[in-house]
Symmetry: C2
Subunit: 358 residues, 2 copies
DNA sequence: GAAATCTCTGCAATCGATTGCATGAGTTTC
DNA sequence: GAAACTCATGCAATCGATTGCAGAGATTTC
């Protein structure tokens, strides 16, 4: 009769089934504690009334939100969105909702994070942001981490957090070694954004491979970048202005590699004819750009799945280890068309003077 | 002294400031109703105790979650992830959290949606999934939509929902007209997945443009697709086997266009030399693939922002119009390198027989 | 056959914030 | 100077589900 029919509560179900709310609650959460008859009556009552438990009330009582917070630097970036996809699926499979916080780095990120937790909206945090201020975070979390947290894609030495990451530094080393094995000696690097942990690890791997081969990582060949296509285009502009150019570039991620190749083309240079390029991540499009990109495949889906699973384990107390866990997943070199032998080796007798080392 | 220090509640603040919890609550939500002195004492108490309101308790009392649910077919798809980015920002700016539900289409989607709402976890829904069963949804929602809902990217004629969309059909017409204006007469189309509303609208626009120009949309030139790169590659395989090939293709989205171009190349065909290709969406990478893709730019960020804003308006009762609103944003043709005049027109006298129409 | 145990169910407190109503002090009005 | 009003605050009910405790009846144990 009323204009707005209220959503049914556990009271309505109890009344309909002629039992107390306590019994209804038990019938739904631990059916074995309720007699078969009663259980059947309650099921029927639930069906008829169309009852769904009120999550707010449940959260309030149980101090549990069945929700995790995923903090990302940029959802629009396909690298993260694929991971988010996997996270969402794992969480959904275990009955958790996923709340996303985008552009989490920046001044108030620590405060916002703290608010999310203290407000009991989420039970745990998956932190993907390499630029977030972890010092600040640690201060907020206090000594023994008071809330379940897993840092993904980053590793802060000695930080009391669980982490899941890929073997960035080793993978960068592999990528660089691939170029060296092709015969390249003059190799440059497009860096990631300053202050990002990944930037450091990938650069370190690059330097290690160079050093191991007795090659020099020239400062002017370390081009600035920012993990996006535009910065790759800009890097290409720097590149063509170099007096002595490298014959190969290891880019810190696929997007900057693709931007770089596109920029090369604008200046009449060919990849891999003039310059070999290796990327990092293996985005879906890496196989479809021209030339198809040689890159290190990061196990992104696995990363998301494992991180989400581990976080929920922590939340549910199945991993109560005081000592932080560090999980490392390994990457894989995918050789495609963007890398080849250096020009000098292809036609050693015809090396044009312009390309010869000064 | 205790091992685990409890999170402070409004009681703690009240005790510290020597007032009732009612006053604390009012000081925080409507400060003008509390005297300046008291307000200062309360602020101090909040600061000292480190109090943050418990969202579950607030939700329970106010029947409001300050959270919206975003249902997407595929977060991993950059098309959606950019929109999600905009949605998240708009929502955050207005104090709402964003819960994501991925792969929402499929058997239980209606039920899952209903559960989300009835459980009071979310206040409204942004539905992006063209494949979700809207009939089922309508049944669940009942006559006057009982929960705030905005359907994005889709339009169901006569459905009692607010919608935000781009002018798909008109944009497809424009894209096709661009090919016609370049001189193409034999034009094919890579379709989207069956059952998706967008597929139908884009195909309709294509047919309208063809008809208006007096051209035939041949059945064997309507290639199946699925909005992803792989289906574009497959479409290219179909394409090369055609007896009489089109000189231009309008692909239903950028990903299938890029996959198609990549597939062409594997068969030794050049774009735009042999075939011009127009995409749809203007993904970030469209400008960076080779050749740079001519495409219809969809105002994705605006779409997300406007949809989220409208949804929150509805939630907060600022738009109580019974009659559903339909907002349409317009797309823009971005001409790049993947379209050119047809081969026959470039060198009309030298048309190789193989390329001539049979 | 009394005691102990087990099974099923209900009572009522509890989670933490919000809000309608009431109250008392201070202020304005005529 | 009494009535009417305003302002700041407190009291206590309320939102809806969960759960410790207790009791009634049935069953097992010795």
């Amino acid at each position: 009769m009323s204009l707005v029919k209220k959503t049914p509560t556990i009271q309505d179900v109890a009344r309909f089934a002629n039992v107390s709310t306590a019994t209804v609650s038990r019938a739904l959460s631990s059916p074995e504690r309720v007699s078969e008859q009663t259980r059947a009556r309650i099921s029927e009552a639930v069906r008829v009334t169309g009852y769904t438990p009120n999550q707010s009330a449940r959260s309030l009582r149980q101090k549990t939100a069945r929700t995790i917070l995923v903090a990302l630097p940029d959802i629009g970036n396909p690298f993260f969105s694929v991971i988010l996809d996997a996270v969402e699926r794992e969480a959904a499979a275990r009955g958790y909702g996923v709340l996303v916080a985008n552009r989490f780095s920046g001044g108030d990120s620590g405060v916002r994070m703290r608010d999310y937790f203290m407000s009991n909206r989420v039970d745990g945090l998956l932190l993907f942001d390499g630029s977030v201020d972890l010092e600040q975070l640690m201060m907020l979390t206090g000594e023994p981490t008071p809330f379940p947290l897993i840092v993904v894609c980053e590793e802060i030495p000695n930080a009391p957090f669980h982490t899941v990451k890929t073997d960035n530094s080793y993978a960068a080393e592999q990528a660089t070694r691939h170029l060296i094995e092709l015969g390249h000696r003059r190799i440059g690097h497009i860096r990631g954004p300053d202050g990002n942990v990944l930037t450091g690890e990938r650069e370190a791997g690059f330097r290690r491979a160079m050093q191991a081969a007795g090659l020099e990582a020239r400062p002017e060949w370390m081009l600035p970048g920012a993990f996006d296509m535009d910065s790759g285009v800009v890097a290409a502009q720097h590149f063509v202005r170099l007096e002595a150019r490298p014959t190969a570039i290891f880019a810190a991620n696929d997007e900057s590699a693709i931007g770089f190749i596109s920029g090369l083309r604008q200046h009449g240079l060919d990849c891999p004819g003039d310059v070999s390029v290796v990327g990092f991540d293996d985005l879906a499009l890496a196989a479809h750009v021209w030339p198809p990109l040689t890159t290190m495949r990061q196990p992104r889906a696995a990363l998301g799945r494992i991180a989400a699973g581990a976080l929920i384990d922590v939340i549910e107390g199945e991993r109560h280890s005081r000592v932080p866990m560090h999980m490392v997943l390994s990457s894989e070199l995918i050789v495609r068309g963007s890398t080849a032998r250096p020009p000098a080796l292809v036609a050693p007798l015809a090396t044009p003077p312009a390309l010869a080392a000064r």
